[in-house]
């Protein structure tokens, strides 16, 4: 393993800062307590913000998992290819 090709989420501070703000945005502390109106698309306005942040959380988490995490994947996939090739030759 060489250090340059390794990607590990814990080592990237910005991921955790963004996550913190998304989670903070998901909790409705910044709206007037007790308010309901206006209803937008049939639901109380504030719930749209909460749902938007929930979607954002899923999207960001999923994106981080796929793009910011790569420790032994290349190595393992190469080994797997080698192994398959070996079986074909037998």
């Amino acid at each position: 393993m060489d250090n340059k090709s390794i990607k590990e989420p814990i080592q990237k501070k910005w991921i955790w800062i963004i996550l913190f703000f998304i989670i903070l945005g998901n909790v409705p502390w910044y709206f007037q307590s007790g308010s309901i109106a206006p209803l937008v698309w049939g639901v109380p306005y504030w719930t749209l913000f909460i749902v938007a942040f929930a979607i954002l959380l899923s999207a960001f988490t999923s994106w981080v998992i796929m793009t910011q995490w790569n420790i032994v994947e290349d190595e393992e996939e190469d080994e797997e290819k080698e192994r398959k090739r070996g079986i074909e030759h037998e």
């Binding site: 060489d2 814990i10 998992i65 420790i71």
Partner: protein, 499 residues
């Protein structure tokens, strides 16, 4: 749960069908596997070879139980739109995984871990830490299993409408679970999870469609009704509720990812790529699982208004009755749906039981009682103790103690105390054994004490979170006071990514 109008012989037939399918899957997944019962890794972790589809569904079916439907819909009914938090606290678990899973996967392959305790033993080499952690984990798993057993009873009895006596039905289903798990170990658990997971997903969708049909496909009317009749359920919550919401995100984010069965799914992954892809899809699942169940609960407020707390627990059964009477198609779908609930409970219970057995096999028996035993014997001991544990828990489920009932509610609050040892220990090499032990103990005593004395939260913050904060402080301050030895430093080079 109330009598279901569709309960009875049809329900019994569907349950038998599900049971037979599960038994067949268990039988075929164990057949022809020579080394299955001779190796801890093969039996408990499917030989560390779970591929994308099985890994994804076993994560899904284990994380979402029958309780996700029969418990969460009533929760949405009682608390209203605030229950939107159930989407996020299921997603935040994957942010929790990101803290440690990438490195833990690599280390677990390198050092061939079977249970989370293997890691703690390697990292801290301390009996005190390992035994306390084993105790907390077994306690958490035991109570989690107990909850599932109680839930199976409720679901089965309402579906068969008394055609099969309640206790017979529960025993029958638990026997099915024990048999397929005995035959195939993790492989059987994961393969049955594929079937159970698919059924659960489809069930939730169809139930939601039925619920929308009943309110004339008009969610706006539902919201307007709630805003007029029970405005508190539609309004922005007050500050303590908001703090509680945030607290639960922290508790679940740290706690759920380190459930032993959750960690063992990292160990069981075939490759990093498989693990990543299943996690990436799982991060979207709360939106179409707890999110949809939330909508069902909200529709319930308008559909069947005025239920008290005990009455609201029957919500799913009450709505299912209405949906089943729409027409013959919905009638059969509702029977399949209730079967799906039973399947979903089993799929969670089987994983928890397997993890419980593995801790007994590999940790309690294999580390302290008879370390020289063959792997075959260790596997056997875990299986037998697992069966005994289920029998004891069943007895407990049917004869709930009158006092100290809270002890059996405690799970998450205690389990989460293993988090610092488990996660921070990976990255911070100064972390020392004795502070970890005292931190874990202090956290567990605070969290357990608060719950047992009836003060589960303080100003909206959960006892588990307060315990965790104290735990962290003890661990960090204590470890800074202990000098690092060179021997320890050399040993810990094994967990570096670049050797």
């Amino acid at each position: 749960m109330n009598e279901l109008i569709f309960a009875g012989l049809d329900g019994v037939l569907v349950l038998i069908f599900y049971a037979v399918v599960m038994l067949l899957i268990g039988y075929f997944s164990g057949r022809g596997e020579k080394g299955l019962h001779e190796s801890l890794s093969n039996y408990y972790l499917a030989g560390k070879g779970l591929g994308l589809v099985t890994l994804f569904f076993t994560l899904y079916a284990t994380q979402y139980s029958g309780n996700t439907i029969i418990g969460y819909a009533p929760a949405a009914y009682r608390s209203g739109f605030v229950w939107l938090q159930s989407i996020t606290f299921m997603t935040v678990i994957f942010a929790g995984y990101l803290l440690f899973a990438p490195r833990m996967y690599v280390i677990s392959k390198r050092l061939n871990f079977i249970t989370p305790t293997d890691w703690l033993q390697f990292r801290f080499n301390s009996k005190a830490v390992s035994i306390l952690a084993i105790f907390l984990m077994l306690w958490g798993l035991g109570n989690y299993l107990l909850e599932q057993l109680v839930a199976i009873g409720q679901a089965v009895s309402s579906l068969t409408g008394g055609t099969i006596p309640y206790q017979v039905a529960v025993v029958a289903f638990i026997l099915v679970m024990l048999i397929y798990e005995w035959l195939g170990g993790m492989k059987a658990v994961a393969f049955t999870d594929v079937m159970q997971g698919v059924v659960l997903m489809v069930g939730i969708f169809v139930f939601l469609i039925g619920a929308f049909y009943l309110v004339g496909w008009d969610f706006g009317t539902v919201t307007r009704f709630i805003a007029e009749a029970e405005p508190a359920k539609a309004a922005v919550p007050d500050l303590p509720t908001t703090i509680n919401w945030f607290s639960i995100l922290i508790l679940v984010g740290c706690g759920a990812a380190i459930y032993p069965h959750a960690i063992q799914r990292i160990f069981a992954a075939k490759s990093e790529r498989t693990l990543k892809r299943s996690f990436a899809v799982m991060a979207w699942m709360p939106l179409i699982t707890t999110g949809l169940v939330f909508v069902v609960g909200i529709i319930g407020i308008a559909l069947i208004p005025g239920l008290d707390e005990a009455g609201s627990e029957q919500l799913v059964g009450l709505m299912a009755n209405q949906i089943a009477s729409i027409n013959g198609f919905y009638y059969w779908i509702m029977i399949l749906f209730f079967g799906a609930i039973v399947a979903a409970i089993l799929s969670t219970a089987d994983s928890v039981l397997l993890s419980f057995s593995s801790l007994v096999s590999n940790d309690v028996y294999g580390k302290y009682i008879n370390p020289n035993a063959s792997e075959h014997k260790k596997v056997m001991v875990g299986k037998v103790v697992g069966v005994i544990a289920v029998i004891l828990l069943l007895w407990l489920a049917w004869n709930p103690p009158g006092t100290l009932y809270e002890i059996f509610v405690l799970k998450f609050e205690l389990l989460v105390q293993v988090f610092p040892a488990f996660v921070v220990g990976i990255y911070w090499k100064r972390m020392a054994a004795m502070p970890v032990f005292w931190g874990m103990l202090a956290g567990a005593v605070i969290a357990g004490g608060m719950t047992l004395t009836g003060h589960g939260t303080y100003m909206g913050v959960h006892g588990g979170v307060i315990g965790l904060a104290v735990n962290f402080i003890v661990v960090v301050v204590g470890s800074l006071l202990v000098p690092v030895t060179e021997q320890k430093e050399v040993k810990l080079r094994k967990i570096d990514l670049v050797e």
